[in-house]
Symmetry: C2
Subunit: 206 residues, 2 copies
Amino acid sequence: MKSDKKIITISREFGSGGRLIGKRLAEKLGVPYYDKELLDRIAEESGFSREMMEDAEKKAKNSFLYSLISAMGTAEAGPESLSLNERFFLAQFDTIKEIAGEGSCIIVGRCADYILRGMPEATNVFIYAEEEDKIKRAVEEYGIPQEHVKKLMKDTDKARANYYAYHTGQKWGEPVNYHLSIDSGYIGIEDIADLIIKYTDVKLFR
Amino acid sequence: MKSDKKIITISREFGSGGRLIGKRLAEKLGVPYYDKELLDRIAEESGFSREMMEDAEKKAKNSFLYSLISAMGTAEAGPESLSLNERFFLAQFDTIKEIAGEGSCIIVGRCADYILRGMPEATNVFIYAEEEDKIKRAVEEYGIPQEHVKKLMKDTDKARANYYAYHTGQKWGEPVNYHLSIDSGYIGIEDIADLIIKYTDVKLFR
């Protein structure tokens, strides 16, 4: 049995073009696209301000500080009173579940693959590439200055891996967490989007 | 620019159905399939006997022993005289290069992805699945007795990872070593073969 509903989550290395692929998928399928858009929706529903959430996301970039703040928040106040970071993650968790319940959509990042695991309509995709290919894309397409690109790439992916590990207990980018992993260096954005759609067309409903 | 020549290497976890996918690909594309068939070809060209090669492959199952034998072989005799295992790997290396030079084909296992890395016509695919799915397939399709399946699966994959790490210095199953990684638990063998062919149709020639 197949389903017409397509929830596609995209996890991606910095510079791999994952966001572009997500946007192209949303256009091709005519479904909503969520990345930063998620924050607006969470703000609406949870009462968190955009500023506070963006601040919490920035903090996640320092992996050690992030774990420390989260751990301290709960340790001091007891399990019933969660730290701000954890409350923010839970709000995100609820909103992602809710969005996925509403119908087809594309969600980039934010542990959406983990949050929607086991949902038969969800397809989790990981987009990566070789380092030189990611640097080239980041400089030429995202306009990142050449001298900053390596550090920015390393820091961003480290923050993503850390955020994922902290909230899911899993290793970010490990194949078993995704249905499909694609190196974006050997196939165009348009063709990757088509390939993912073809996958969702034949994915077993289980 | 695209090429009509398709070299597809399949690396696979035990129980993931990777061999079946390789065979199906060979049938669909009408091209030669190499797995155990490689050993015959190596025997023909290198003078190694089938028995010796199968023995060397079995030895690789004990990771510690394998590394030790290989290291001792070279350490004792100096770099110009390679250990038997290393000579066997080099013969395999040459034969895989030669086979890939001849035309389209499917090669399962044997570090073929690494050996053919950088060849524009080569597409490297990794097939994996969740543990319960692999157990189910190994018992129902390969006929492995239920009580042996977990240990056999663990030992086989450990041997593959070790063999790969020893000869390539890379981590087996790490996405960056493959163009495409697919969880075989959510899509049928036939559909996976079609998806891989579609990928090779649009893969950039670089």
